[in-house]
Symmetry: none
Subunit: 194 residues, 4 copies
DNA sequence: AATGAATGAGGATTCATTCAT
DNA sequence: GATGAATGAATCCTCATTCAT
């Protein structure tokens, strides 16, 4: 039971617990008490480290976005050529840490949070803009002037697939989602190039 | 003097008020009291007619889905040929009663509701299945064996565009959304037919 | 158990209970729950009628000041001549509803409340100003130009006696307090007239 | 390296911080944490030195009374003749360390504390008795048999002036208060001697 | 039908206090 | 001596829900 430098450990545990709890419960109606218990501490301590429930949820959201963002960056750097880059973005979106049931549920709830929480809305807009930019950049060599429009469309499709998984009953099937979006991209490219 | 036939009027007013309140507030954290006040009655009366908050919200959701469904049906009947039918579905999705700011916000919240409310989830799945079926049916003559897959994709895109509008700050722009999805459908078709 | 028009009854009961509770407890650290219980209702109802703890305490303070003010007015109207009017003010200050142990304790606490609650401070200042004006007016015929100064002094003495009673252990002795202040007024008058 | 003799320094700092904090906040609703921070240490340390919040506040009160008492003693020793002694008491009450805004606020709060804290009440009564004795003693040569009564009255007036300052908005004006009480004493004396 | 009264459970938040280091 | 971690009780407030009229 170490007594110093607990802050990062506790904050981390709380963020993870918050995401898990939102995922499990399927809504933002989640109590600080339950999150704290899931993280193995008292609700008082949660407040000690985050100051408020909102701040804690916001931190959780930021965490999700940060993980997503860094995975995207890593995948982009490891990719060669426009096609590979587009595919990387799609793949990361539906894989690993970003596409577990509870995480998808949390995402959906953060979308709702953004509707009445300014900071959350800003956060989300920044990430969406970055995502669009990534897609545009990757698509420029393939689609030329139509890249912006296509980037927009691919982003919409990714979001749409997320939504479907958020509502489906089983574990999300990342491979299928990737295949679907990819197929769509291929088809559209062909259409474009025609 | 007991007013006759008040029930449907009251229920209707409450449902509309619930949707408006959810839209205005941007979350499901909406109180029966406020909904009732918006509908011009006491919270007691709201319970009298719906029995519970959940039942009222569910009725509101059902209402949204019913309106959507009937508009789709009407548009399909008025359309001639596969292309027109696909377009009708897209157009209805982004127009009129279904694409006002507050309604989009309410939709998003009902998605969340479906995560922890069984009846809501069932309702949503039924409607989504019907929508897919409509799309598949309309696309079969155009895409043959790939129709199911394409229907799925168009549905995802519609949902994705909804999501974007739910997070945008201004009034949703239905025309732009229709144009985008249509363009995409065209391109994909071309690709497919190639 | 009447079901209509409860509001004034409940508000009144809560105000009285608040004063009693503050008096009994000797501090503003009084819970809404205890006040409500003393008034025979749930804490929820107290909030229903006052909106907040602060508003309730403020109403209690206002009540004390209003009672005091109206008793002063009544006594002034029943008094003939300057001397009688000064005496009336002194007498009312130390009698009846204003000089019970619990009420004196509540007064003291409202003084504290005025230190960090703007509305409370304003309320208190208005009443103090009115009190000074009453005293000045009554003293003018007796003390001429020195009336303002003497009014100030009498007011200070009244407050001082209140304070002593607030700290004493037994039931406050109004008669003694009146006699003391009156004796002092007499002596000072004589001094002045010399 | 254990610092030697830190205890008195720490205790002193905490007492001063407590008074300042009560003065600044205008109420006894003051947290150990804030007091400790103001004194430049952790809340844990505050407990280490005082054992409890109550004990700390009591020590602060004792400090105020002790300072007041010793200043009175010093002024009395430096005064020659009854009149000078009475004046000394009045002057000290409204000067220097005893009549700063925050200190007056703290006094008021200690009066409240005395209502539900036995030790505080005892403390206050002892000091008030001593004060009365001082005044009586100083007044005996001037007022003879009426000295007790007059001492009582002067004490009440001093308290009353304190109260007024506690509620005023600006910095307390000691000179004015002294002048007022003195004028009053003079007038009463003249009246008495007549 | 309709209201407003009433309850009571539940949740965020604050804080004194304790304890391991 | 000193800190910051940690707890848990206490409190305000909100709200769905019930009920008498």
């Amino acid at each position: 039971m170490p007594k110093l430098g607990m802050e990062p450990i506790r904050r981390d545990a709380l963020i993870k617990a918050a995401i898990a709890e939102i995922g499990a419960q399927g809504s933002l109606d989640v109590t600080v008490g339950r999150i704290a218990k899931r993280a193995g501490m008292s609700s008082g301590l949660a407040h000690h480290y985050f100051g408020s429930k909102d701040a804690m949820l916001l931190a959780a959201m930021r965490h999700l976005l940060a993980v997503y963002g860094s995975e995207i960056r890593a995948a982009l750097q490891a990719s060669d050529g426009p096609k590979a880059r587009v595919e990387a973005i799609v793949r990361v979106s539906f894989s690993g840490s970003n596409f577990r049931r509870e995480v998808v549920a949390a995402w959906l709830n953060f979308y709702v949070m953004a509707q009445h929480h300014d900071a959350a809305a800003r956060l989300l807009r920044v990430y969406q803009a970055r995502m669009r930019a990534n897609l545009r950049h990757a698509m420029r060599p393939l689609a030329g002037a139509r890249a912006p429009q296509m980037a927009e469309a691919v982003a919409a499709m990714i979001d749409g697939c997320y939504l479907r998984e958020a509502l489906g009953s089983g574990q999300p099937d990342g491979a299928r989602a990737v295949a679907q979006v990819q197929a769509w991209v291929e088809a559209a490219m062909t259409g474009v190039e025609t």
